[in-house]
């Protein structure tokens, strides 16, 4: 019934992967000394960064390459080697207006939760569904009431587990410090414990540090089967 002419039918819909320069000092525990030095360093970096959100930057996937590696300095006391490194990290970082495909993971009165597999904090709020849409509490599903070619009512449901095309509306990535330059390379879980306690008082429910608001409004968006000729 609807046919999308404007969106490239073969469009490879995606989010942006970016190489980001990171500077950090990596602690190599003595247990790593038997490995090849760079392997040990790589493992420690990936262990520290993979699947963590770099404040203000995005979701770290994997170490891409080393830019600079300093000498290992062994500290008295812990026996670990501390190495200053500069490296490039593959970071997932979508931008507003990008169109992507995600799977519906959850559907409730607050909207939809979409997932890319490796990242699942994508929310479609009610006001960004195709309009007019409403929530059916018995089924737990959102339905877009539209019209078919004959002008009759057509209810299009969004099932959990379906793939939907969405447009990135907003990307929120928490910054650690509002009054200082952000640390160049501090993954979220290495925050000072005091800051954690303060935050815990203000917001009892921890939010994931990177959140995407998505829109299903617009031609071609939503369930792709809606837009196929037939």
């Amino acid at each position: 019934f609807f046919f999308v002419a404007c969106l490239c039918p073969r469009a490879l819909l995606h989010g942006m992967f970016v190489l980001v320069h990171v500077r950090d000092t990596i602690k190599l525990p003595p247990s790593c000394f038997s490995k090849d030095f760079y392997d040990g360093l790589k493992d420690e970096i990936n262990g520290r960064y993979t699947n963590k959100v770099l404040p203000g930057i995005g979701l770290c996937v994997i170490l891409y390459d080393f830019v600079k590696v300093g000498e290992a300095v062994v500290h008295f006391g812990d026996g670990a080697a501390w190495v200053k490194v500069e490296f490039r990290e593959v970071v997932f970082r979508p931008f507003p207006l990008e169109t992507m495909v995600g799977k519906v993971e959850k559907s409730d009165a607050s909207g939809l939760l979409l997932s890319l597999g490796f990242f699942s904090e994508i929310r479609v709020p009610p006001h960004l569904m195709q309009q007019p849409s409403h929530y059916m509490p018995e089924q737990g599903l959102w339905v877009w009431r539209t019209e078919d070619e004959g002008g009759a009512n057509l209810d299009l449901y969004i099932d959990v587990g379906t793939d939907v095309l969405f447009q990135v509306k907003e990307v929120q990535i928490d910054q650690e410090n509002h009054h200082q330059p952000p640390p160049i390379a501090v993954p979220r879980d290495t925050r000072v414990p005091d800051a954690d306690k303060d935050k815990a008082k203000e917001t009892p429910e921890p939010r994931y540090p990177m959140r995407i608001t998505a829109s299903l409004q617009g031609e071609g968006l939503g369930v792709s089967a809606w837009w196929e000729e037939g």
Binding site: L12, G56, V61, P96, V171
Partner: protein, 156 residues
């Protein structure tokens, strides 16, 4: 580094891919082609499997890497030229070369635009401008030129 304004507050700096306002951290960041990401992760997945390390970090990393790879593979172009990193680097260089004629002489594509063109593969200038709004500044002729460069480099 100058701190980026907190995007979660209603302040002046608004990111917008249409106008290429991506934030200061991304000024010189290289945007990757999906092929590059998929190939790279493929390499690394083999890496992990052959390494004898069984650390917890490796297990979690392996899972995220596998899922990211699966995501990229859904959308990567079937393109032998881009299977090698060398091909990707050449294509990137060619597409970032400044225009040598026309009203936009001296201007070149930014990294985000290059990756978008290669990843999205629009058929023509009109389509390209529709799905990559920041190309609006370029003439249709310029965009056709970029598309031609991309196609030729990929052996099409």
């Amino acid at each position: 580094a100058t701190p980026m304004v907190d995007p979660s507050s209603d302040l002046d700096f608004v990111e917008d891919a249409a106008e290429l306002r991506l934030g200061p951290e991304f000024d010189d960041a290289q945007c990757m082609f999906l092929n590059e990401v998929a190939s790279f992760l493929d390499l690394k997945a083999k890496d992990k499997l052959s390494a004898s390390s069984e650390s917890r970090a490796n297990t979690m990393a392996a899972s995220v890497i596998a899922k990211t790879k699966a995501y990229c593979e859904r959308f990567q172009a079937v393109n032998s030229m881009l299977e090698k990193q060398v091909g990707c680097n050449i294509l990137r260089k060619q597409l970032q070369r400044p225009l040598d004629s026309g009203t936009n002489i001296g201007r070149g594509l930014k990294s985000f635009q290059v990756a978008s063109l290669v990843n999205l593969q629009p058929d023509n200038a009109e389509e390209a401008k529709a799905i990559i709004p920041s190309l609006a500044d370029f003439d249709d002729d310029d965009v056709e030129h970029f598309l031609r460069v991309a196609r030729e480099s990929q052996g099409q």
